[in-house]
Amino acid sequence: MEFDFGAVLVDWRLLAKGIAWTIGLTAIATVIGLALGVACAWARAHGPVWLRWIAGTYVELIRNTPFIVQLFFIFFGLPAAGVKLSPEVASIIAMVMNLGAYSTEIIRAGIEATPKGQIEAAVSLALSKAQVFLRVVLPPALKKVWPAMVSQIVIVMLGSAVCGQISTEELSYAANLIQSRNFRAFESFIVATLLYLALAVALRRLLNWAGPRFFFGR
């Protein structure tokens, strides 16, 4: 057996484009997914009963079905119900829904760990409900669960490899395209896998650095 990685690396432009898409998808999914997670965590912890119920159902539905099925449902299933989406939009929706559900549970764990006295103190300072949640409860909650959150975001980034299956042109799609041209399947996927590994390490570092700076202060 002989390996020929040159045949793969010649197509570095495709790989670069794939990496750019993977990063882009992850970035959008992270920002919107985190916001969705915060909203649902609030709903599950402080919302009215019916809203708790909806958020809870959403979380359990997403967490107990595979990502690829969610993606297929959105991309192939929804058009039959009249909603047509491009592969990219379908991928983003699927990733956002996915991260939203997992981060809901992660953030909720942090919220529930907030000491009651802090909330009472904030209320006695005449802060509004929204202010109490956004300024007193949320930042320490995020800080507490940030390591779990970082892991989950990395998992979602790695999961985005599946989006190539509906022809979103991310990294795994690029690897598939390259191997269909040069018949070097093993080499193509090794290169893509190593690139994913590098992305995962970089993303973890970036988030560990960015979390304290932008989300909850030090």
Binding site: N64, P66, I68, F72, F73, F76, V154, L158, F189, A200
Partner: protein
């Protein structure tokens, strides 16, 4: 054109569901065995072994399962072995599961207080005896909840085997959807079946978790 009733769709999906279950069991049992060996190597094999196992875990946790499946599918073929989707999926999912389980279990063993090791060591127990009588009984109790919880991830992971042509629930869903032109109904059913499979396991894991925490607190 033949008309497919909802029952036709469900019946065919249920037939495929068993392969999802079988593949999950293969991955879980195989992954448990390999994970156990790796854990042993990590605890007993000195620094080099610990490093190697750590690297192994990072490799599998830091790369997409989809790529692992592709690599198994095309990698085993490089050795001149004819790979079926069965072999590739079993191998890839077993290795993937083993990496996660060995890490979960390592955490459980590490959470046993050092004094337990020292006390049992001072009683002149060998490593095997320490493990068997002192460490494992405590570690297993802590490990059960996260291990059951991880089973959900394994079941969901088998869905990716559809991509290399393994006909399980997801693949069957795609095929039926192509034949019936009812993707909305079909993928709803597929999702529902996964949910029916996974949700009880999730709930059970949650119950177990509450119990372990109750006991320790």
């Amino acid at each position: 054109m033949v008309d497919f009733s909802l029952w036709d769709i469900l019946r065919n999906l249920l037939m495929a569901l068993r392969w999802t279950v079988v593949l999950s069991l293969i991955a879980f049992v195989g992954g448990g065995l390999v994970g156990g060996l790796l854990l042993f190597a990590r605890l007993r094999g000195g620094k080099a072994a610990a490093r190697a196992v750590g690297l192994y875990v990072q490799l599998f946790q830091g790369t997409p399962l989809l790529m692992q499946l592709f690599l198994a599918y095309f990698g085993i073929a490089l050795f001149g072995i004819d790979v079926s989707a069965w072999t590739a999926a079993s191998v890839a999912l077993t290795l993937y599961t083993s990496a996660f389980l060995t890490e979960i279990w390592r955490g459980c063993v590490a959470s046993i207080p050092k004094g337990q090791w020292e006390a049992s060591g001072s009683l002149a127990l060998s490593f095997a005896e320490q493990m068997r009588h002192v460490i494992l009984p405590q570690a297993v109790k802590i490990a059960i909840a996260p291990t059951v919880g991880f089973l959900v991830q394994v079941i969901k992971g088998t869905a990716l085997a559809s991509v290399i042509g393994f006909v399980e629930l997801t693949k069957a869903g795609s095929m039926i959807s192509n034949a019936t032109f009812q993707p909305f109904v079909v993928f709803s059913c597929v999702a529902l079946l996964y949910f029916v499979l996974c949700f009880p396991v999730s709930l059970y894991a949650k119950t177990l978790e509450r119990k372990t925490h109750g006991r320790r607190a």
